[in-house]
């Protein structure tokens, strides 16, 4: 009989061999980097590049019907939808258990060397059709008129993991834009009013990264609590003084964030309001991303789209900024006792796990090119293609605005002088 502790039997038998219990352990045992990003395959295996037919009548004339958010066959009117991706990507696990970096296959690094064109063989007539995948994901065969679509995830960022179809119709978007601009007529630039043509609104799928995160944050600073308030001086020379206790304040928060939406197009991510109006498109977020479906190029038929050109590495600093902002927002209520405020001085963020999904989100966009003082700018009025939330930028007529401001200023100053005159 051995004196060995029975609980150590397994370890003794295995010697220095690593114990394989989790996929991470297995990866380590096989010599792989356990911290390397893990890929989630989101490719729609049911679809190939080329002809994708209606499941009922085999026609290829398919497009989205926004009023239902479903695909409709233009030949037999059959309607259907692709599968939701949420269950496939997130599964049933809690976000608190999210560890490491998980990147869905449509969000992996963009290969700038990837070919910008793809040759598809038409299954209808056998001819070869070239599709410029930098600009579109479907094309019509010029011989037999079949619609050919690109569904495989080409590494140029054109095919995302998922798409959230439009559910707001063109007419609804038109009404929202008219209402928004209608409330801003008085000081709008004369040319904007003359050239206002809301029927030119276009449906655009814009690329975003949808990110789940499991993180912790620490913030440290100083806080003050008022202990006494008193007034010194007499007559008109009274001054209020304050006594306060000063505290070192530290807070820690563990938190998870579900479906944070961040722009993955460099152009849209630039929100310098001196040179563009991208901030209005950012304002119409969020979307009901849980209802996004598997990619099918037919969802884009009749709409335009913008290709993703940002990888996870480029979006990471924005993600960290937003996670720190969320952490600061979350700890705010716990500092209510500091009635003279808190000055945070340092902050730290530990990101335990992230899950990245590339998604096309639907936006109705009215754009107006305007040059003011030699400075060109595109003014957008954007409507969320799911919720209808509307935000926009309307160029103003500076002379009219100045006139209104001076009128108000003169009116107020006249009253002020009258009061002064009456009291002297």
């Amino acid at each position: 009989m051995s004196d060995t502790d029975p609980t150590s039997f397994g370890a003794e038998q295995l010697g220095n061999e690593p114990v394989v219990e989790t996929p991470e352990d297995l990866a380590e045992a096989l010599g792989a980097d356990p911290n390397a990003p893990k890929t989630i395959d989101t490719e729609n295996k049911r679809l190939d590049d080329g002809v994708n037919r209606c499941p009922k009548c085999a026609s290829t004339d398919i497009q989205l019907r926004p009023s239902t958010g479903m695909l409709v066959c233009l030949f037999c009117r059959h309607e259907w939808s692709e599968e939701r991706v949420e269950e496939r990507i997130a599964g049933n696990g809690s976000l608190q258990d999210l560890k490491g970096t998980h990147i869905a296959s449509g969000a992996t690094a963009i290969n700038t060397e990837a070919a910008g064109v793809l040759t598809l063989k038409c299954a209808g007539c056998g001819s070869e059709v070239i599709v410029n995948i930098d600009e579109t994901t479907s094309a019509r065969c010029h011989w037999c008129r079949h619609v050919l679509s690109v569904n495989e995830q080409v590494p140029n960022g054109a095919v995302p993991d998922a798409v959230l179809p439009f559910s707001l119709t063109h007419d609804q978007a038109l009404a929202a834009i008219k209402q928004f601009a209608g409330k801003r007529k008085l000081f709008a630039h004369r040319k904007f009013k003359q050239e206002f043509a809301p029927e030119n609104v276009v449906g655009v799928y814009l690329p975003y990264m949808i990110i789940d995160s499991n993180a912790s944050a620490d913030v440290v600073g100083k806080g003050e609590i008022e202990t006494r308030r008193y007034t010194r001086g007499t007559g008109d020379n009274k001054t209020t003084y304050y006594d306060a206790d000063v505290y070192d304040v530290a807070r820690h928060v563990d938190f998870t964030v579900d479906d944070l939406i961040i722009e993955s197009s460099a152009d849209r991510a630039n929100m310098n309001t001196f040179v563009n109006t991208n901030n209005v498109i950012n304002t119409i977020l969020p979307f009901d991303t849980k209802n996004a479906v598997e990619w099918n190029a037919n969802y884009l038929v009749g709409f335009t789209s913008e290709k993703r050109d940002q990888d996870t590495d480029a979006v990471q600093p924005v993600l960290e900024h937003q996670l720190l902002s969320i952490a600061r927002s979350e700890v705010m209520l716990s500092t209510r006792a500091y009635d003279r405020g808190v000055r945070w001085e340092t902050e730290r963020l530990d990101v335990h796990g992230t899950r990245w999904v590339s998604m096309y989100l639907p936006v109705w966009l009215y754009s107006y090119y305007h040059v003011s003082n030699g400075k060109p700018m595109v003014h957008y009025i954007a409507v969320n293609g799911r919720t209808g939330e509307t935000m926009g930028s309307v160029p103003v007529s500076h002379p009219r605005l100045l006139f209104a401001a001076l009128t108000i200023g003169t009116f107020v100053e006249t009253i002020a002088l009258a009061i002064l005159w009456a009291t002297i």
Partner: protein, 104 residues
């Protein structure tokens, strides 16, 4: 336009509510600058209403966030007596997006 007249009336009411006396240098100053100040405020308010340059997605409130109970510490380290500041200098409690020194 009715909103504009409303804001002008508000400003006028504020002035009327201000007690003014000949010796009150501060009151006189505010009375004299009230006209230019209201002109600038009007300009900025209308400009923002049209251009919405201050708007962005409120991800702190509009995203699904689950936090565990907040932990931390509060230690009194000093007293500040006789200050005329109405709040702690550099108060950034509500300015969540203003980044401070990041620790590794």
């Amino acid at each position: 336009m009715s909103a504009l007249l409303g804001s002008a009336a508000d400003i006028a009411n504020t002035i009327l509510a201000t007690e003014v006396s000949g010796d009150d240098g501060g009151g006189l100053f505010w009375l004299l600058v009230s006209g230019p100040a209201s002109a600038v405020t009007t300009y900025m308010m209308i400009y923002r209403y049209y251009r919405n340059t201050d708007k962005s997605h409120s991800f702190e409130r509009e995203t699904a966030i689950e936090s565990q109970p907040i932990t931390g510490s509060d230690n009194k380290v000093d007293e500040r007596n006789g200050t005329t500041d109405t709040s702690i200098p550099g108060d950034n409690r509500e300015d969540h997006r203003a980044r401070v020194r990041r620790l590794p």
